[in-house]
Amino acid sequence: MTTKRAVREVFGFFFSLGRRTGKTRVFALLGLVPVILAVVLRVVLHGRSGDIAAVFTEILMVFFLQFYIVILALFYGTSVAAEEVEGRTLSYLITRPVPKPAIILGKYAAYSLLMFLMVAVSLALSFFIMNAARLGDARLYLTFLSYLGVLGLGILAYTAFFTFLGTLLKKAILVGLVFGFGWENVIQYFPGSTQRFSVVHFLKSLLPYRPMGGGGGGLALLLFRLEPTAPLVAVMILAVIAGVFLALACGVFRTKEYLYEE
């Protein structure tokens, strides 16, 4: 079986399995929070489109970018390898005629798609509820796609990094939490080049500075001290981050022995 085919089969197996687990349902429910907030805010801020646009960006930036995709990527990313070792189901996978990197790549792809779907549904519902008055505006859809693209890239980059941590470390989740909620939350506000040592900096660089319809006061905190990187460079760096950490994860998984805890 070719590696490409193997990746596809692993993807199919884990996408089908991942969809039905209880944890996926919990994370999907978590994605309803911005939707509920969107409904509440729409009612409260009815008629004030400037406020609505600014508030939505605040929700997007804070909830999706600095919480939701990080939590999702942390759980699913570390699960790529750690779940099999902790659950002792690794034996079923590595005694099949599939290359070990295909297992990592296939599972990564499956979980990334799963996360992307959860984020996309949540983002779409909350975005279009908040902008219900302007559904005829074609630019609105472009804005939505750009937000979705940013979150998609964020999922790919974060998940690749956490996948690597999961293949390498036993306590990957704690290192991941310190990185995701410690390092990322602090470094992004450092002046100069230092802030470029965070994934969220490049994601924020890709977002539009002003929300649709003016305003932008809501962005003040999140874009505080942001010295944005050029969008094309930001996309390339995110792609490189994803590629490098995935390659490292494949390399580690291929050569490491995983012993079950007795």
Partner: protein, 290 residues
């Protein structure tokens, strides 16, 4: 046939002494297991870093002349009063470190028992549910009190030593009680909080994420709602903000948010009650399969 006595066995005529603290072995084991993890020892040590900084500040506050060049305009900041203690105990980074320590030490307290079907082993012994839960909670009490009450009391002692007089204690005689009270409050709250999440899944990795996610999510929700509605009552959505409100109340300080501290106390107490109800249902020796 020889009697039992001749064979060297004699019946013991004493009274069987029941263990007075049946929860103690559970606590002892939980603490030992936590310290077996190498990474935990590092994290536990890191949790004392803020304490060292605050202790150093106490020293500097008594030696302002020597450190004048360093402090200059910051003299007002190094004034050791109940506000100083409140700042220490409600520092967001400090609360984050407590969460981190508990994620390492306590995430698996109940989830591992659920995973390995150990509850049947526990309850087939003369152990009540309350002993089991108290034993598990005491693990959390231990770690939280060591990180909070111990440094707090040490600060007072060193303040008195550095000052060379009891003036500080005479000015604020209630301060040690505030420290102990707030530490106990944190210990009880975090015990209920962590055990509630630990009992929610057999997967310790997932529980660890839940411990952080719930804490941070509550903060983010507060941020979003506050930015939108600009109402201080939104602080009630945040676990961190509520803990800070209660801390300010116990240290006699003005709360950060214009919300009565009693509301924060009610919210946190509500979480504890919810946790108690769920824990009571989850921890049973027989698993009901539907």
């Amino acid at each position: 046939m020889a009697t039992i006595r001749e064979k060297g066995y004699s019946h013991w005529a004493g009274t069987l002494c029941e263990r007075r603290y049946p929860w103690w072995p559970i606590t002892r084991t939980g603490i030992r297991l936590a310290f077996r993890k190498k990474a935990f020892k590092f994290v536990f040590a890191m949790a004392f870093v803020p304490s060292f900084f605050f202790l150093a500040s106490i020293y500097i506050s008594e030696r302002l002349e020597d450190f004048k060049a360093l402090v200059r305009s910051r003299e007002a900041l190094i004034s050791v009063t109940p506000k100083y203690f409140n700042e220490f105990f409600t520092l967001p980074f400090f609360l984050f470190l407590i969460i981190l320590v508990l994620a390492f030490a306590a995430a698996g307290l109940i989830s591992d028992d659920l995973k390995h079907n150990s509850l049947q082993l526990y309850f087939s012994r003369p152990l009540h549910k309350k002993d089991y839960l108290l034993g598990k909670m005491s693990v959390v009490f231990f770690f939280v009190l060591i990180i909070t009450a111990l440094p707090g009391l040490v600060f007072i002692i060193f303040k008195l030593i550095f000052a060379g007089s009891f003036k500080f204690f005479l000015d604020y005689p209630w301060l040690p009680l505030s420290i102990l009270g707030y530490s106990a409050f944190l210990a009880v709250f975090f015990a209920f909080y962590v055990l509630l999440l630990s009992a929610s899944s057999k997967n310790t990795r997932y529980v660890t994420i839940l411990i952080f996610a719930t804490y941070f999510f509550s903060d983010i929700l507060f941020g979003i709602l506050y930015e939108t509605f600009r109402k201080p009552a939104m602080a009630l959505f945040s676990i961190r903000a509520n803990l800070q409100q209660v801390g300010a109340f116990l240290f006699g300080q003005k709360p950060r948010y214009a919300v009565p501290a009693v509301w924060s106390f009610i919210v946190l107490a509500g979480i504890c009650v919810l946790s108690a109800v769920i824990l009571s249902r989850k921890t049973r020796s027989v698993e009901v399969i539907k």
